[in-house]
Amino acid sequence: MSAGPAVVVENVAKVYRRFQHRHQFRTLKSAILTGSLLTDLTPDETFTALDDVSFEVPRGTMFGVIGENGSGKSTLLKLLAGITKPTRGTVKVRGRVSALIELGAGFHPEISGRENVAINGIMLGLTRREIQERFDEIVAFAELERFIDAPVKTYSSGMYMRLGFAVAVHADPDVLLVDEVLAVGDEGFSRKCLDKIGEFRRRGKTIFFVTHSLGLVEKMCDDALWLRKGRMVERGDPKRVVDAYLTYVAGGEEALLARDHAQGAATDPTAGGYREGRWGNREVEITRVRLLDDRDHERHVFVPGESLTVELGVRAAVPVEDFVFGVGIFTSEGVSVYGTNTDLEDYGPEQLDGEARVRFVIERLDLVEGSYLLDIAAHKKDGTPYDYHRGLSAFRVKSHIKDVGLYRPSHHWVFEGPVRLSPPRPRAELDLHDAASDNTTPPHAALDVVAARAQRQAWREAGLSVVLTNGCFDLLHAGHVSLLESARGLGDRLIVAINSDRSVRALKGPQRPIVPEAERAETLLAMECVDGVVTFDEPTPAEVIGALEPDVLVKGADWGEQAIVGRETVETRGGRVVRVPLVPGQSTTALIDRIRRT
């Protein structure tokens, strides 16, 4: 395939035509009578879904499109898929396209999953042989091994979508078009879809992504486009596009108008105030906004109850005596959660001259899970803005508890009398400190699977790849060190899964383990190359591997490739399995023998 952009859209417009029913009936009659069937098919009303849209998507990048409902996102996707043709302009897509517009479209309910996979594959342009080769992979990915021969009508909607997704991604497209589909299905499935999309990206495929999930666009896309009423509003760096969109969503039309208005009044019209969602005369300028956690690390994701500090760098070109600093928190829907300023709280301004730092410290961030936008402002007492940032900063609150509303008052439950409840499942509350800072501190004790998973998730969010290896490690020796060091070399973080004492006994007999699990964990964690230890009770690490979904699974080369537990799990989720050569003569069993003999 030649180089150059994967998708080229040039001055594209799409005009839909509407026919009215009564009109239609008349047309049929007169059309038959006059025989002018084709010429009579003229619309009496048109609707412009897209207008003057142009962009290119370079190969191997991920392109996100955001916008409200009815902004033309889906129409754009259909044009790229070739389902409809543009009214004006051209659309060029190079390579095989697979569209995840509606998962499982074209499944026939009466026939089995197996037959549907075959037919769906053919529809997506695969040959019989290709389908046969990929069949097992598809079924494994959809996790439908047991049901693949049942008619599709007996599937749950989740199963249906899993199968649809599995077929579509295994069609091995060069360009993958993804609609909102990922939002549906359970969390595990969405994650799996995202993993698969990540894998596509690594393989240099082009992904075109239409979504309402702004976080995903910011996190995953290289480039973004915001459509409003069929027109391009903003295009470029995803963060900037999302910010601009959020500003618009938060303030609606009014904010846009205010911005336009403010720009007209701004002293410096070249400041680009419009783009950044910012207005004011800049006599006092907010030069920097940072969101900090309790360790003063910059962060954008917080856990309820943590502290959040909004730090403003401000600068007054000339000394001012009339100034107010304000902060407002809004939900992504634009609902005001809280707002205050120094004037409301009776701080009397005296003087601001040159550069200063203002910190607004929220001791406990008692908010429910969600995305929040900040209004940050410096203005006069009468409200005349110096520098008003609307929705330019955002943060997200993440929680295991899916409570609702806006505000989470600090609370607890008390039960008295004949009422019994089992205590809540212990959950590892997310620790996001590590995810944010570059200096990722490893945990200092063995984790259970849930906590390890949270840790792994945090690492993943920080863009770090995770290596997993497992074993008993009940007598650490040089062979282990070399294995662990090579393992760590294969990724950014290494988690070692160790068999619990009970598990070791079951595997190796009552004499083992020589060193109990807590001490084993401690020893391993003392090594520089080990970032986390997780203990598991089962005879095999299958469950741990499934839960942690490592990017790399490492085993000693004494293991046959087929014998490695969890190999398939890792590979179907886009990870790889690596066998590391062992140091000859170094093994725990040999060591024990040697001790016995002396």
């Binding site: 839909y16 035509r17 026919f19 239609q24 009936f25 047309t27 049929l28 069937l37 084709l38 098919l41 259909k78 898929a81 070739g82 389902i83 409809t84 043709k85 396209v97 569209a99 517009i101 509606e102 479209a105 074209g106 026939h108 009466e110 026939i111 037959e115 075959a118 037919i119 053919i122 529809m123 040959t127 019989r128 008619p151």
Partner: protein, 261 residues
């Protein structure tokens, strides 16, 4: 026309698997399953035979005996024809999901409707042949069977394309169609013998391409001769024209399908 056929050949794998799916799905869950392919034409045959041998005895043509076998020779291909057209009318609307959400060659759907009904026809054929042999009617002319079959196939495909694309824009056609097919049935020599007709009626019948196809079937299978060659050739020409018009119309409306379905 060559281009259109080439196009269809390109999709043959898809068409093939969709026809297979159609056949599998059709009777899944029913007790008789695939036997419905045989039972359906038999029941239809039984109905007409009862009417003409018990109720309207005097109306039945005396020139062809046994009458039920004559009837069978016409009803079987007619069922293919009418079921195909009726199904094709709704097939794009029913398959709207495919056309709207997937890059899918829409013309495949009416073609699948015609071909899956053809399979039912071919499955019914052995029963007819069995009765023909049983009554000693079958001769070597039966080897000419592919001729009317081919003409009918092209004609049906053309009409199916035409009707399916047009129905998307004019839903009325779906309702109208059952009546048109009913009238068409009686204007085709199936329950009566073409040779018995004369005058104006014969002229009208002659304008109907299906007449010639039916007469060809009846001659080849039932009468053991084939003299209606001119008629079949004329029907073939009409069939090709209908196919071209149908394909052209479908092509012209193709871009509107995804929006109007």
């Amino acid at each position: 026309m060559i281009a259109q056929i080439a196009q269809l050949l390109r999709y043959r794998l898809l068409i093939q698997s969709l026809v297979a799916r159609e056949l599998k799905a059709r009777y899944r869950g029913s007790v008789l399953g695939f036997f419905w392919s045989f039972v359906n034409p038999l029941l239809l045959l039984l109905t007409y035979w009862l009417v003409f041998s018990r109720v309207l005895v005097g109306m039945r043509p005396q020139t062809v005996t046994p009458y039920f076998l004559f009837l069978f020779c016409g009803i079987l291909p007619w069922t293919w024809f009418s079921a195909s057209i009726a199904q094709a009318a709704g097939v794009l609307i029913a398959g709207g999901n495919l056309i709207k959400k997937v890059l899918f060659p829409a013309e495949v759907l009416p073609v699948v409707a015609v071909l899956s009904n053809m399979v039912h026809f071919l499955l019914g054929l052995p029963i007819l042949l069995f009765f023909l042999i049983y009554k000693g009617k079958l001769t070597l002319t039966a080897l000419l069977l592919p001729l009317p079959l081919l003409v009918q196939l092209v004609l049906t495909l053309g009409l199916a394309l035409f009707v399916s694309a047009l129905t998307v824009h004019f839903r009325d056609i779906q309702d109208l169609l059952s009546h048109i097919l009913q009238v068409w049935f009686f204007l085709t020599p199936i329950i009566y013998f073409y040779g018995d007709m004369s005058g104006k009626i014969r002229t009208v019948l002659r304008l109907n391409p299906m007449t010639h196809v039916m007469v060809a079937y009846q001659e080849i299978l039932f009468q053991g001769r084939f003299e209606h060659i001119g008629g079949l050739v004329a029907a073939a020409v009409v069939a090709v024209i209908v196919f071209m018009v149908g394909a052209l119309l479908f092509d012209r409306l193709r871009d509107t399908l995804a929006e109007e379905v």
